[in-house]
C-alpha cells in the first residue's frame, strides 16, 4: 500500500493531481463564501443581547477554527516529514504556518473588535485569548525556524519537531473555555451534543467555516505547488513543464 501512496506523494505526481484539487477548492470556497456572506450579513437575525455585533461571530469563529485546523494540517505534514521524509510534506509545513498565522492574527483582531462592544475591553488575559496568542507565536517560530536553515530539508525537519512539541497548545485552546470559568463564552458547537445555537445563526457559521477551510486548501496547494517548482527546478519534469509554458 505504501508504494501506492508514495507514488502520489512524489513531487511530479503531486504537482499534477493537486492542480484540479486547487481549482475545485477555489471554486467551492468562492461559492460557500458568497452564500455564507449573504446569510451572515443579510439573512440572519441580530442577537437579542448583542445586537448586530453578533455578525462578527461569522468571521471570528471560522477564523479561530481555521487557526487550529491549520495547525493540525501542519502537524500531520510534520509527522509525515519525520517518518517518511516526503518532500511535499516538508514544503507543506512552512506554507501552512504562513496561512495559519494570518488567520490566527485575524481571529485575535476580530476577537478584539467583538470584545470591545460585548465586554467593554479590547483584550483580557483569559485562558483562550492567551493560548491563541501563544499559537500565533508558535506559527512565527515555525516560519522563522524553517527559513533559517541553508538546507531546506533540514529546516523542514526542525520545523516539524517544533510543530509537534507545540501541539499541546491546541487542546489547551480548545478546552480552555471548559476548564477555566473566565470571560470567553463556552463552547457552542460540540461534536457530541446538539449545538446550543439557533439554526438561523448556526447555518451562516458553518457555511463560513467550510468556506474558510476550502479557501485554506486552495491557497495551501497554490503555495505548495509554487514552492515545489522552486525546489525541483533541476529535474527534467520541471524543465519540460516550464518550457511548455513559455
Amino acid at each position: 500500500m505504501f508504494t501506492f501512496l508514495h507514488k502520489y506523494a512524489s513531487p511530479q505526481y503531486f504537482y499534477s493531481w493537486s492542480a484540479s484539487w486547487q481549482k475545485w477548492a477555489s471554486i467551492i470556497a468562492a461559492l460557500l463564501m458568497s452564500v455564507g456572506l449573504y446569510y451572515s450579513l443579510l439573512n440572519s437575525p441580530a442577537d437579542y443581547q448583542q445586537g448586530e455585533t453578533v455578525r462578527i461571530m461569522y468571521v471570528h469563529v471560522p477564523a479561530a477554527w481555521l487557526s487550529m485546523f491549520g495547525y493540525m494540517v501542519m502537524a500531520s505534514a510534520a509527522i509525515v516529514t519525520l517518518i517518511w521524509r516526503i518532500k511535499v510534506a516538508e514544503i507543506m509545513i512552512a506554507q501552512c504556518a504562513v496561512i495559519g498565522a494570518s488567520f490566527t492574527a485575524l481571529a485575535l483582531i476580530t476577537g478584539m473588535l467583538w470584545g470591545k462592544p460585548m465586554w467593554g475591553a479590547y483584550w483580557v488575559w483569559d485562558a483562550r485569548l492567551t493560548s491563541e496568542l501563544v499559537l500565533l507565536f508558535l506559527y512565527f517560530g515555525v516560519i522563522a525556524l524553517s527559513g533559517a536553515f541553508d538546507d531546506e530539508r533540514a529546516g523542514a525537519r526542525a520545523a516539524a519537531i517544533l510543530t509537534l512539541v507545540g501541539i499541546v497548545n491546541i487542546p489547551i485552546i480548545h478546552y480552555s473555555v471548559e476548564w477555566w470559568n473566565t470571560l470567553h463564552q463556552g463552547p457552542t458547537v460540540s461534536k457530541f451534543d446538539s449545538p446550543s445555537a439557533h439554526p438561523s445563526m448556526l447555518i451562516p457559521l458553518l457555511v463560513m467555516a467550510l468556506a474558510f477551510k476550502a479557501y485554506f486548501f486552495a491557497v495551501l496547494f497554490k503555495r505548495a505547488r509554487t514552492e515545489l517548482l522552486l525546489r525541483e527546478r533541476n529535474t527534467s519534469w520541471v524543465k519540460a513543464l516550464l518550457k511548455e509554458a513559455v
Binding site: 463564501m33 455585533t53 455578525r55 462578527i56 483582531i109 476580530t110 491557497v219 497554490k222
Partner: protein, 50 residues
C-alpha cells in the same frame, strides 16, 4: 439601507471585522500569486545561468 451600514451603532466593529477578513483573504491570494511569479522568474534566471 443606511441601517445596514449603521449596524445598530456597531458599524466600526462589524465592518472593521469583515473588512479585515476580506483583507486577509485577499492578501493571502495576492502574496501567493506574487510568490509564484517571483519563483518562475527566479527559476528562469537560474536556468539561464547554467
Amino acid at each position: 439601507m443606511s441601517e445596514f451600514f449603521h449596524m445598530g451603532g456597531y458599524a466600526f466593529y462589524v465592518w472593521g471585522s469583515y473588512g479585515l477578513t476580506a483583507g486577509v483573504l485577499l492578501a493571502n491570494l495576492v502574496f501567493a500569486t506574487m510568490r509564484r511569479k517571483q519563483i518562475l522568474q527566479q527559476i528562469q534566471e537560474l536556468s539561464e545561468e547554467d
